[in-house]
Symmetry: C2
Subunit: 146 residues, 2 copies
DNA sequence: GCGTTCTAGTTGTATAGTACAACTTGATCC
DNA sequence: GGATCAAGTTGTACTATACAACTAGAACGC
């Protein structure tokens, strides 16, 4: 096996390990916000609000799944729905102040965890690693091969 | 923000994206073998058999979860249990021939997906990326920060 | 050697996340 | 203005998971 082939093997194995661990630990680290909820809130913040359908499309989730997630987030007071005056089928979702705060708090705690784990890394390696990950995820059609 | 700090941000973001995608696509790519089942079978092959308790400890899963997964895998004929003659509480799990075949087949298909996605990468980058991932996952206490 | 305690595994129960299908409501298009 | 399309909700089912209670077997202490 060439160096490149065995590197691909390693990437596959290590990505799988990471995905499994992430899945296992997501709920425990932030019981107040699942990985999916966190991602959805993040998207709402980035986009300054969007529709449930956009979330479903962007994250390859069923609209019913998003509908229930959104209902839970609204219930928890983290988002609010505003009826689109142009199209009454549409509800535009926005973060509430509480949602913004929780999101910031979870982001901080996640960031701290990553920072700690990467504390020993030389800056140069961090930058390269980050670039590789971006490139990997940016690949069109990338579905994670989970 | 320093280059290192923004690299950590990027790593966090991209790892999160990966974990989410992996979760979303795992079941669809290999309906015959969930990510967890795949991982467990892989461990059994690597270790040439082990106990359910070992799997639970190694993958931070509850023993009841492993018990049910194992039951399903046995039901599917992919593994078999052998009572430990030394300790009758213990069942040593082994891949069956069918299990070995399915595992090999899923591994091939996963490998092909990764290979395709990484096809454009220079060998040098593959090797570095693989090394970074190993280093990241090897960190003691690493739980994925999902 | 026999009770206490430990370990391996199973089963009952509950929860979260997910998908698919059927439905409701509103918009759009001949 | 009826057919069709789009956004979202709800019914139902399944999987993965955890925790707690339990069973069966092993080991330890005296």
């Amino acid at each position: 096996m060439s160096a490149a082939e065995s590197a691909v093997e390693t990437i596959q194995r290590e990505m799988t390990i990471f995905a499994r661990r992430a899945r296992a630990s997501a709920g425990r680290m932030h019981p107040e916000l699942s990985l999916v909820s966190y991602t959805l809130l993040g998207h709402l913040e980035e986009q300054s609000g969007c529709r449930a359908t956009d979330l479903a499309a962007h994250y390859a989730l069923d609209k019913s799944t998003v509908s229930r997630q959104v209902a839970a987030l609204e219930q928890a007071g983290l988002i609010e729905r505003r009826l689109d005056p142009e199209d009454h089928r549409v509800q535009v979702l926005h973060l509430t102040e509480a949602g913004r705060e929780i999101l910031a708090q979870v982001t901080r705690s996640r960031r701290a965890a990553f920072r700690e784990r990467l504390a020993d890394w030389p800056a140069e390696d961090l930058v390269r690693f980050a670039a590789y990950l971006e490139r990997y995820n940016a690949d069109p059609g990338a579905k994670g091969s989970g």
